[in-house]
Symmetry: C3
Subunit: 477 residues, 3 copies
C-alpha cells in the first residue's frame, strides 16, 4: 500500500479482503472532483452560447452520492429535485409492519419531502425548484399506490412553504407507450384531465390570492451540517451493520421537525451567523479552521458520534478522537463498539432510562467536562463543555426529542407540541400547517393568527396558512 | 428506440434502466417462434423416418415460460407432464408458516397436480400423459419428504380422473450413483420393491376392474382462458411487486375446484361452445375478433384485471383499457394503483366487506353498466354489462368463492360445499372424490350413487369412485 | 460422464444442472492433496534452512474447508487457531431473536471457543496455540460489541484449560490507519493501555502461581470422530436444506459439554483406546478396516445419520446403507426423507415424545437388532446391536441430552447437571469451571476440592480452578 507514483494507483477494487479505506476515500474525492471539473466545462459552454439562461439539474436524492452536491450546486443558478413521496415511502417502509406501511402509503412520511426541500434549497444557496412532482400513481416503485385525495395539492404547497419558486409536474400527459406508460400525468393518455387536475387548479388560485411569486429564503434558527465526505467515510467503514449516515441525519432532522422547528441544512464551510443551534449529526473530519469557527460562534453546537474521529487521510487522530475538537472539548474516544440495532443498552439521562444502540463510544472526559448521560456502568455517553455538546452514541427517538426540546429551551428557540403527522413551516411572514393525517387536527397557531387558507382545525390531508408576523413560529434574526 | 432495419435491433438487455416493454414482448414472441420453428423441423424428420410413432414432450410447468405451449403442443400427438407434488409444495410453501407447510408436506396441495393435469390436457387438444410421476422422496427440492401412505395411488388416480391415458413413474429403479441417487424409484437400488410398489399394484387392479383404458376427454362447464402472452406482459411490466400472473390464475382455478367444478383450460383462440362460464383471469391483448366471439357466445364471461389493457404492441389503447372490449362493456380504465399485498383496501359487495389488494383500477362506467362491487368511496371495482363481468382488482379468496358460487348459480352450473382438502372430478360417467386430508371425510355423492371404489365416507389420503350418469356433477353438454 | 483419460476431466462446474457428486468429491480430494503436497515442500525447505524452528499455521475454522486439516496438521509442530468469540457469535446468531443475540453478544456462546480448542488440539496430535485472541471490539463482523469485563481473561484461561501452551493476542497496539484501524489491541493507538490490559496482567500472575507452562495433553473419556470427507459429501449432496454437517457435529459436542464431559476430536484413523464412548455424528464412508477397529474396541460407538451411506466413490452401497457397518449392525437404510427444520415429526423414546427433523431414514432392522426409538408408525428411528448404536435421524436437543446422559451412565462416564452457561474442563489434575453467565453460579466441585482460583460459587463472567486428583471429573485412563 505504498505508491511510487500516481500511475501506481489502481481502483479500490479487487483486493483479497477489503480495500484500504483511505484509498476508497481518495477515490471518491477524485471522481467527484472529475465530475465537477467536467460539469464546470459544460456550464462554461452553455453560459457562453446561451447567455442569460438559468442552469439547473434535478437532484435525485440517494444514499450513495458520488458527487459533492455543494460543489455541484455552486455553479448552478438553482438546484431542483424530483419529489416522489409515495415511491420513496414504499421503499423506506419495505420492511415495516403493514400498519406502518399502510399509514403512509397514500401520503408519504411527513418528513420525507421536506427533508429534500430543505437540503435542495441549500445546494445552490438561493432559489430551488421541484422539477418533477408526482401527480398520481407512478411506475417504478415496488408498489405504486395512488395519492390520497388532496395530497398533490398538499405536497405542492409544502414545496412553496419551504421556499421553492416553482413546482413542475411530471408529466403533462401520461404517455401510452414505452417504459413510463404506467406513470400518471396531469392528463391521461386520452388527453382527459387526470385526478390531480382540479387540485392543481385550486392550488393555482390560492397561490395567486396569496401573491406567492418567486423564491423566498426562509431563515431557520437551527442549522444541520451535512457533508458528503461524512457519508463516504461511514459507507466505506460502516463498522456496525446498523450504522447508516442518512438514517441518522434524517432522524435528527425529523425529531426537530416534530418539535415544529424550521431547519436549514448547511455545509461545514457555511457561516453559523443567525443560528442559535447548530447540529452536526456526523462529521468525522474536523480541522482547526472549523474548530475556530465553532469557538467564535454564539451558537450552541451539538456533535453526533464519530465526529472528529478521522484525520483528513482516514486515520484515527494521533491524540484519538475527536481530534481537533479536543481544544474545545477535552475528551478522548478510547474505543468504539457497535451493536445490533435490536440489542440496545440502557442510556441514563435526567432520572429516565433511554436506549443507546448501533454505535457506542468509550469516552474519557477531561477536566471541566460534564457528563450529561451515561451507560449502566456510569461511564459517559454524552458530554458537554460550555457551548459544545458531544453525543457519543446513537440514541432512541424518545431521548432525542426530549433532549432537543430541552436544548432549544436553553438557547431560546420556541418548540411546539404537534399532533402526530402535522408539521409546521414558515415562509416570510406566512405560517403553514400541513396535516398528513386523514383526520382533522388542530394547528398551534396563535390567537392573533389571520387565516388566509383553511383554519385552526386543519382538515385531513389538508393545510392551513396564516399570517402573524409578530408571533413568528421561529425567532429568526 | 427507433430502428432503421432489423439489424439495428439488439437483445432487450444492458440498457441504463429498464428496457422498452414492447421490445421485451417482441423478443419473447420472436424467440418462442424460433423454438417452434426448430421444433417443427425436428418433428418433420421424426415423422418421415419413424412413421406411426407418437411424439410428445414432458412439459415442466414453470413461472417464466419461454415458449407458447399451445404452439408447441399443436404438432405433438400428446402432451405430457412431470408430476412431483411434494417438491412443488415444498417450494410453493417456502415462506409459509410451519402449520401450513407441514399440512401439505406429504400430500402436496390438492390443486397443484390437477392444475397441471388440466393445463397439460389442453396443450395438444387430446390425449395427455403423466410422463414422470413421483413415487417417493426425491432429490431436487429444498426439502424432500416422503409421500404419506396412499398418496402415490391417489396422485395416479387423479391423473386418470382428469383424463390421462397413461401414468409413468420416474423411475423404475433408484440408481445408486450420480446426481439422482437420492431420487426414489419403484424399486430400491438393491432391486427390492420400494414403498410405492403395493400401491401401484392396487391401482393396476382397480384400473382393470373399471375398464379404464386410454384417454377420455372430460368436458367441463367452466373454461379458463390461459395465455402465454399475458404471462410475458405481466412479467415484463409487473407494476406492483405483489402481482403474479400464475398465482392469480391458480387462485381463480383453485376457487372453482373448491366448489366442486371441473375446469378446462383453453387458449384465447378456442371456441367457447359448450361452456356456460368462461373466465379470463388476465388477458391484456384483446382484438376485435375475440370480442366478436364473446358477443356471439351464450356463455357468461368474466374478465380479471388488466384484461384489454394493452395493444398488440404493448401500449395503452387509444381509448384506454379495456380497449376493444369497450364495444361489449362501455367502461374506461382511468388509472391503476398497485398495493403491497399486506395492505389491502375494503371491497364492498352484497352487504359484505371483502378485500381488494395488489392491483386496483379506477373504472369509469358508461351507460347501462352496473356496479357489482365498489371501493370505500363508492367508485366501481367490479362492473357488469349483460353477459360480461369485469373484475378490476385482485380480491381475497373469500370474495372470489362467494362470487363464483353466485355466478354459477345464475348460469346454472351446480356447485358443491366440499370439506377442506377434498376435490371432485368427473371422467365420462365416473365420478371421483379425492381426499387430501389425513382424516376420513364425506363425499357429496348423490343417494343413487353406485360406488365402484371406496364409499361415501372417503378415507384419509384415499379416494372413492362412483357411477351415476343421470346426476352428473357437472352439466356437460 | 465417462472419461478416456485424466485429460478428459474438467472442473466440476458449468454443467446444465448439478455436477456429478462423485466428480465433486474427487475434485475436493485432489485439490486438498495438491495443497498438502505444496505444503510439504514448503515445510521441507523451512526445516532444511531453519532447523529447530517450530512450524505452525493459524487455522481459521469455517464451514467449507478446502483442505483436510489432519493431513495439513500432520507435518506441523503445532496447530493454532484464531479465537474471536464475539464476531463468531454475531454471525452465528444473525437470525436469532434479540434476547438470544444479546445474551451472548458480549461473551460468545459457551461452546464456540472450546469447540475449536478441542478440534485444533487434535490436528497436530500434540501442542496447540491460540495465535490470535480477541482483546476487545474488532472490525470485521456485522456488529462488533465490546467483551464483557472479565471475558478476555476467561477466554484466555479457557484455552489453557483445554491444553494450549500459549495464548497470543491480536494485536499489541491498535493501528491507527488502514483496514484494521477499528480492531482493538492490548494498547490503544496512542500507546496507552486498553481495557483488556489489567485482565491479562491478572491472568499472567495466575498462570505463574499455578505453574502452568507448556502443553498438557488432556485425555477425555469421550471421542468424537470428525472427518473432512463427511463435510465435503454432505455439502455436495445436502439433500435437505436443513442438513448442516457442522451444526450437527456442534450440537453433539455442545450437548456433551452441557453434561460436563471433556471431549477429544479424533480422525477416523485414530485408535479408540482409552475412550469409553466414541461418537461419529456423520461418517458416510466406512471401510472394512474401520469396522474391524470398531469390533475390536471396548468402546460403545454411536453413529449419526448418513453413516456408512456411501461407497468410496460416492454411490449408495450395493447392499444399501450403512454398507460395511452391516457386519456389526444388520440393518438396511431403505430410503431417506428430509424435512423442513420447522416441521418435525414425533420421535418416541422411553415413554417420552421428542422430535425428529431434517433427516429421517427408513430402517429395516435385521435379527438381533433392538429398536431404541421409533416414529409414529412404530418403525425404527434409532437402533442398537451390542456396542453399536445407530441414530437414523436428526433429533432435538432435549432428546440428545437425555440419550447421551443415559448412555454415559451405562458405560460408566460421570456426567454433571450444570447451570446454564457454565462449562467444566480438566487439564491434568486441575479442574476448571467457566461461568459465561453474568450471574454467579455454583460449580459442581467435590467437597474435597482445593480451590486455587475463585471458589465454589463462580462469579459472573469468571472462573474457578480446583485440584482434586482422586475425584477427577472424567475417568481418564
Amino acid at each position: 500500500m505504498e505508491y511510487g507514483s500516481f500511475d501506481d494507483i489502481e481502483l479500490p477494487i479487487g483486493t483479497v479482503t477489503e480495500t484500504n479505506p483511505a484509498h476508497g476515500l481518495a477515490y471518491r474525492r477524485y471522481s467527484s472532483d472529475k465530475v465537477i471539473e467536467f460539469h464546470s466545462r459544460m456550464i462554461a459552454v452553455i453560459r457562453t452560447n446561451a447567455p442569460g439562461k438559468w442552469i439547473t439539474h434535478n437532484f435525485i436524492p440517494k444514499e450513495d452520492l458520488g458527487v459533492d452536491p455543494y460543489a455541484l450546486g455552486a455553479e448552478l443558478d438553482i438546484a431542483s429535485y424530483d419529489n416522489y413521496p409515495l415511491g420513496r415511502a414504499d421503499m423506506a417502509f419495505s420492511d415495516a409492519p403493514p400498519e406502518v406501511a399502510s399509514r403512509y402509503m397514500r401520503t408519504g412520511h411527513p418528513d420525507f419531502a421536506s427533508f429534500y426541500h430543505d437540503t435542495s434549497r441549500s445546494f445552490s444557496g438561493g432559489d430551488y425548484w421541484v422539477m418533477e412532482q408526482q401527480p398520481g400513481p407512478v411506475n417504478w416503485a415496488p408498489h405504486n399506490p395512488r395519492p390520497a385525495p388532496g395530497m398533490v395539492r398538499l405536497w405542492s404547497w409544502e414545496a412553496f412553504a419551504h421556499g421553492a419558486s416553482c413546482v413542475s409536474y411530471f408529466r403533462w400527459r401520461q404517455v401510452p407507450f414505452a417504459q413510463e406508460q404506467m406513470h400518471a400525468g396531469l392528463r391521461r393518455p386520452d388527453n382527459t384531465n387526470a385526478s390531480a387536475w382540479p387540485e392543481i387548479e385550486e392550488l393555482k388560485a390560492e397561490l395567486d390570492s396569496l401573491g406567492i411569486n418567486g423564491f423566498t429564503k426562509t431563515r431557520s434558527s437551527v442549522a444541520v451540517i451535512t457533508d458528503v465526505q461524512a457519508l463516504w467515510i461511514t459507507n466505506i467503514q460502516q463498522q456496525g451493520a446498523g450504522y447508516n449516515f442518512t438514517k441518522l441525519e434524517f432522524t435528527y432532522y425529523s425529531t426537530l421537525r416534530r418539535l415544529g422547528i424550521d431547519v436549514d441544512f448547511i455545509s461545514k464551510d457555511s457561516v453559523f451567523d443567525g443560528y442559535a443551534l447548530v447540529i452536526a449529526p456526523c462529521l468525522p473530519i474536523i480541522d482547526d479552521e472549523f474548530v475556530t469557527k465553532c469557538a467564535r460562534s454564539d451558537a450552541h453546537i451539538i456533535f453526533g458520534p464519530r465526529s472528529g474521529s478521522k484525520t483528513n487521510e482516514f486515520s484515527i487522530p494521533a491524540k484519538l478522537g475527536p481530534g481537533s475538537l479536543q481544544s474545545l472539548l477535552p475528551i478522548k474516544i478510547l474505543s468504539v463498539e457497535t451493536l445490533r440495532p435490536a440489542c440496545p443498552v440502557p442510556l441514563h439521562w435526567n432520572e429516565g432510562i433511554y436506549e443507546a444502540t448501533c454505535w457506542c463510544e468509550e469516552i474519557e472526559a477531561g477536566e471541566g467536562v460534564d457528563t450529561i448521560a451515561a451507560y449502566d456502568d456510569g461511564s459517559p455517553a454524552i458530554v458537554c463543555n460550555g457551548q459544545v455538546t458531544y453525543v457519543g452514541t446513537v440514541t432512541d427517538e424518545a431521548f432525542l426529542k426530549q433532549f432537543f426540546q430541552d436544548t432549544c429551551e436553553t438557547v431560546g428557540i420556541p418548540t411546539h407540541e404537534l399532533p402526530d403527522d402535522m408539521r409546521l413551516c414558515q415562509r416570510g411572514e406566512l405560517n403553514f400547517a400541513f396535516n398528513y393525517s386523514k383526520n382533522a387536527q388542530m394547528a398551534p397557531a396563535p390567537q392573533s393568527a389571520e387565516f388566509l387558507i383553511g383554519r385552526r382545525m386543519v382538515g385531513g390531508h389538508d393545510l392551513s396558512v396564516w399570517r402573524c408576523p409578530e408571533t413568528a413560529l421561529s425567532n429568526n434574526p
